[in-house]
């Protein structure tokens, strides 16, 4: 790379404010989260809006980290993850991308589609039902992260899968969160 101008221009064009590409450790998630919080506090946002962006960031990055930690060690793609926070037309967009086993694509698609079909009350009901379910023994989370994200999002969840090889795909999740002062 000769210089960073092209990268900077691309970030500016897409409204990208903060991005991290690498292994999501707890301390990286925490430090980036603090930076995001401080940045948003300087943007004259309502506290509810700051919390929504922060919470969506935490749920996305912790989901990715928990998922990649469950993939086995002989899969080198397990560390491939990226998170991007951008401001597009006044709304904050939190996006994450990670490798996913192709065997998991169908189930994740089903869950995302189910969540997107629900209105505010439907999401609340599903959220409460999921909180009440016994946790899976190998899961660090309660499987409620995506529902929490959808409850805080202003637009339906947007996602894509891109095939990497016969075993893996790349999963991208884009979440648009309220930007204006509430």
């Amino acid at each position: 790379m000769r210089d960073l101008l092209a990268l900077k221009e691309s970030f500016t064009e897409q409204g990208i404010l903060i991005s991290f590409n690498g292994a999501f450790t707890h301390s990286i998630i925490e430090e980036m989260g603090n930076a995001i919080k401080r940045y948003l506090e300087g943007e004259n946002l309502g506290r509810g809006a700051i919390m929504d962006v922060f919470a969506v960031y935490i749920e996305q990055t912790q989901n990715v980290r928990n998922y990649l930690n469950r993939l086995s060690f002989d899969q080198p793609q397990r560390n491939t993850a990226i998170v991007v926070i951008g401001n597009v037309d006044g709304a904050y967009v939190v996006s994450s991308g990670n490798t996913i086993a192709r065997a998991d694509v169908q189930d994740l698609t089903r869950r995302l589609t189910e969540i997107n079909a629900l209105d505010k009350d439907g999401l609340k009901k599903l959220y409460k039902e999921t909180l009440r379910k016994p946790r899976e023994s190998d899961a660090k989370g309660a499987g409620i992260g995506l529902i929490d994200i959808a409850r805080r999002a202003r637009l339906p969840l947007a996602w894509s899968f891109r095939e990497i090889d016969q075993d893996f795909s790349f999963f991208s999740l884009m979440v648009t969160v309220m930007g204006e002062d509430k």
């Binding site: 707890h26 925490e30 989260g33 603090n34 919080k37 506090e41 309502g46 506290r47 509810g48 700051i50 919390m51 929504d52 922060f54 919470a55 935490i58 749920e59 912790q62 609340k124 409460k128 909180l131 009440r132 946790r135 660090k140 989370g141 309660a142 409620i144 992260g145 529902i147 929490d148 805080r152 509430k182």
Partner: protein, 127 residues
Amino acid sequence: MIDIKATSTSPRIAYRTEDRTLEIIGESYPENSFEFFAPLFSWLDARLKDPAPLKVEIDISYMNSSSTKCVLDLLDMLEEAHGGGREVSVSWFYDDGNDRALDLAEEFKEDVKLPFSIIPRTSGTDI
């Protein structure tokens, strides 16, 4: 006794014997919520065998979804004790500049019959 110090991603959890109050204060998005809250559950299980009244003050400005699950489990334990005739109550503090925090408090309150007060707290600098 339980006395867990706060970190930037986990709340302080402590019991004050003088007024029989368990306090949980801070933000909660630890690396592993279930591991983090496990000592609280063991302590509470033992404490609820004691018939003395118990007050619980919860002042968590942000909790991630797995912490929310743990807090619900905590409320379930308290609710069961309340159903069994124990004198238990919850005071839930929320940031009065944050409507979402009030919604969350009310969602927790909906699920329990034990005395549950929702108390506004003036905004600080942390969320």
